[in-house]
C-alpha cells in the first residue's frame, strides 16, 4: 500500500481556491463532488414537489394546489428526479470512483468533464424557471406525449432547450467515461478484470450514447411541429402521434436501465465487501448486464400495449420483456450466493444493499406482471404502475446511491460517518418507503388512475397511509443530509481501508485520496484482487 501512496504528486497546491476552483476544475474528484452535491440538491427539490403531491392526495377533494399546478408538479418531479437527481448521482459516483478503481490519474477528457457538469445547473434553472412563465411550466407528464405537450404555453421551447442541454451533458459524460475506461486502465488490466461498478458504467455509458440523441431528435421534432409547421406527430398533417410514443420509449426503456445498471454495480461492490467473500459468478454478472442492456432496446412497446398494436407485436414485446427477468434473476441469485456462508456484518452500506436486494426484486416482479399483455390492460396508467417504478427507482436506484455514499464517504472525506445515525436513516427510510409505496399497488389494482389530483372516496384510507409514509420518508432524508454535511466537516479519522473485507484498488489510496490518484499506474500485484471465485 505504501508503494502506491508514495507515487502521488502534490498538484493539490497548484489549483485555484475558493469558488474559482469549483468553476474551473478539471479534477475528476472535484467534478464528482459537484455532481453529487447537485444531485443531493435536486433530490430535495424533486422531493419537495413529491411532498406537495402527497399532501394534495392525502384526502379526496382539492386542498393544496389547483389541478394545473398538480400536473406541473408531477411532470417536474419526474424530470428533476430522473435527470437531476438519479443520473447526476451515478455520474458523480463514476467521476469519483472509476479512475481510482482502474488505476488512472484523471478522466480521459477533463475539460469536457467540467463542461458536461456546468451545463446541468443552467438546464435545471431553465426548467424550473418555466413555472414562472405565462401558461406555467410543462404539465403533460415527463413523457411529453403530443398533442398534449404541444398545448404547453410560452414555456415549451425552454423545456425543450433544457432537455437538449441535459442530453448534451449526458452524452459528453458518457463519452468521457467510455474513453477513460477503454484507454486509461492500469497496464494489463483486462476488461474482465475490472471491478463490477466499472463494468456496469461502461455498459451504461454505451446505452446513454445510443438513446440520448434519440430523445433529442424526438423533442426537436416536437419543437418543429409546434413552431415550424412540420407534422412529424400531427395526424392532421399526415403525421402520427403514436410514432412519438415509439421513439420516446425507444429512449425511455433503456433510460430505465441507465438508472439501474450502475446500481447493480454498486451492490456488486458492497455485498462481497461485507460478506468477506469474492462476488459469486463475476463473468456471469458481466454477461447478465450486457444481456439486460441488449434486451432494453427491444422491449420499448410494453409501455404502449393499450395504445393498440398487432397481436404479433404484443407477443414479441411481452416475451422480450419477460426475457429480461432471466439475466436479472442471474444477478439476484449471484448476490444471494455471495451472501451464502459469508462472514456477514451489517454496516449501513450493507443494510442498503440488502434492502435493495429485497425491494428492487419486488419492483422487478411487479414489472413482470405489467409485461403480461392482458393483465397490463388492467394495470396501465393506474397507481400499480406508479408503485412498480418507484420500487425500482427509489428502493432500487436511490437506495443503491445512498449505500454507495455510506460505502465511499470515508474514502472521499477522510472521516467516518456516525454509524448509529446511518442505521437510523436506513431503518426510517426502509420502513417509510414501504408505507409510502406498497399501498399504491392496491390502489392501482382497485382502479385508481395515476396523474390525478382528486379521487373517489373509496381510495381515501390507502392514500392517507401512503401520504403519511411519504412525509416520514421525506423527513428521514434530513438525517442523510445531516450525516453527509457532518461527515464532510469532521468526525473520527478514516483509515485507507475502513471496511475489512474491501478489495478494490481505491482502498489502496489514503483517505481522503490525493488530488491526482495514480500518477504512476499501479502494479498488477496491487490491483489484481480476488473478484473471481
Amino acid at each position: 500500500m505504501s508503494t502506491v501512496a508514495a507515487t502521488h504528486d502534490t498538484h493539490a497546491a497548484e489549483h485555484p481556491s475558493g469558488i474559482w476552483r469549483w468553476i474551473t476544475t478539471t479534477n475528476h474528484k472535484d467534478i464528482g463532488t459537484l455532481y453529487l452535491m447537485f444531485s443531493l440538491l435536486m433530490f430535495f427539490v424533486g422531493g419537495s414537489f413529491a411532498m406537495v403531491i402527497r399532501a394534495e392526495l392525502f384526502k379526496p377533494g382539492m386542498q393544496v394546489v389547483d389541478p394545473v399546478t398538480f400536473n406541473e408538479f408531477t411532470t417536474l418531479h419526474a424530470l428533476i428526479m430522473i435527470f437531476g437527481a438519479i443520473m447526476p448521482a451515478f455520474v458523480g459516483l463514476a467521476n469519483w470512483m472509476v479512475p481510482m478503481m482502474i488505476g488512472a490519474p484523471v478522466m480521459a477528457l477533463p475539460r469536457m468533464n467540467n463542461w458536461s457538469f456546468w451545463i446541468l445547473p443552467f438546464a435545471f434553472l431553465l426548467l424550473l424557471g418555466t413555472t414562472l412563465m405565462p401558461g406555467g411550466g410543462p404539465a403533460g407528464g415527463w413523457t411529453l406525449y403530443p398533442p398534449l405537450s404541444l398545448q404547453t404555453g410560452t414555456a415549451f421551447p425552454f423545456v425543450i432547450f433544457a432537455i437538449h442541454m441535459m442530453g448534451i451533458s449526458s452524452v459528453m459524460g458518457a463519452i468521457n467515461i467510455i474513453a477513460t475506461i477503454l484507454n486509461l486502465r492500469a497496464p494489463k488490466m483486462a476488461l474482465l478484470k475490472m471491478p463490477m461498478f466499472v463494468w456496469s458504467w461502461l455498459i451504461t455509458a454505451y446505452l446513454l450514447l445510443a438513446v440520448m440523441p434519440v430523445l433529442a431528435g424526438a423533442v426537436t421534432m416536437l419543437l418543429t411541429d409546434k413552431y415550424f409547421g412540420t407534422s412529424f406527430f400531427s395526424a392532421a398533417g399526415g403525421g402520427d402521434p403514436v410514432m412519438f410514443q415509439h421513439i420516446f420509449w425507444f429512449f425511455g426503456h433503456p433510460e430505465v436501465y441507465i438508472m439501474i445498471l450502475p446500481a447493480f454495480g454498486i451492490v456488486s461492490e458492497i455485498i462481497p465487501t461485507f460478506s468477506r467473500k469474492p462476488l459469486f459468478g463475476y463473468e456471469s454478472m458481466v454477461y447478465a448486464i450486457s444481456s439486460i442492456a441488449f434486451l432494453s432496446f427491444i422491449v420499448w412497446a410494453h409501455h404502449m400495449f393499450t395504445v393498440g398494436m398487432p397481436l404479433a407485436g404484443q407477443l414479441f414485446f411481452m416475451f422480450t420483456t419477460m426475457l429480461i427477468a432471466v439475466p436479472t434473476g442471474v444477478k439476484v441469485f449471484n448476490w444471494t450466493a455471495t451472501l451464502w456462508r459469508g462472514s456477514l456484518s451489517f454496516e449501513t452500506p450493507m443494510l442498503f444493499a440488502l434492502a435493495f436486494l429485497f425491494l428492487f426484486t419486488i419492483g422487478g416482479f411487479s414489472g413482470v406482471m405489467c409485461a403480461i399483455v392482458p393483465a397490463d390492460y388492467q394495470y396501465q396508467d393506474s397507481y400499480f404502475v406508479v408503485a412498480h417504478f418507484h420500487y425500482v427507482l427509489v428502493t432500487g436506484a436511490a437506495f443503491a446511491i445512498m449505500g454507495a455514499v455510506y460505502y465511499w464517504l470515508p474514502k472521499w472525506t477522510g472521516h467516518m460517518y456516525n454509524e448509529k445515525l446511518g442505521k437510523l436513516h436506513f431503518w426510517c427510510s426502509t420502513i417509510f418507503v414501504n408505507v409510502l409505496f406498497f399501498p399504491q399497488h392496491f390502489l392501482g389494482l382497485a382502479g385508481m388512475p395515476r396523474r390525478i389530483p382528486d379521487y373517489p372516496v373509496q381510495f381515501t384510507d390507502l392514500n392517507m397511509l401512503s401520504s403519511i409514509g411519504g412525509f416520514l420518508f421525506g423527513a428521514s432524508q434530513l438525517i442523510f443530509l445531516y450525516l453527509v454535511i457532518s461527515t464532510i466537516r469532521g468526525g473520527p479519522k478514516a483509515p485507507a481501508k475502513p471496511w475489512e473485507g474491501a478489495k478494490g484498488l481505491e482502498w489502496h489510496l489514503p483517505s481522503p485520496p490525493p488530488y491526482h490518484s495514480f500518477t504512476t499506474p499501479p502494479d498488477k500485484e496491487v490491483w489484481e484482487h480476488p473478484y473471481r471465485d
Partner: protein, 43 residues
C-alpha cells in the same frame, strides 16, 4: 525511463481522444438517423 513513460501517457491520451471523436460522431449519427427514420415512415 521517464521519457518512455511520457510517451506512453501521450499515446493513451491520443487514443482516448480518438475514442471520444468516434463516439461523438456516432451520437450525432443517431440524432440525424431518428429524423431519417421518421421521415421515411411518414414521407
Amino acid at each position: 525511463m521517464a521519457d518512455m513513460q511520457d510517451q506512453a501517457v501521450s499515446g493513451r491520451q491520443r487514443r482516448a481522444l480518438r475514442t471520444a471523436l468516434i463516439l461523438g460522431v456516432l451520437a450525432l449519427a443517431f440524432y440525424v438517423g431518428i429524423f431519417l427514420i421518421v421521415s421515411w415512415r411518414h414521407p
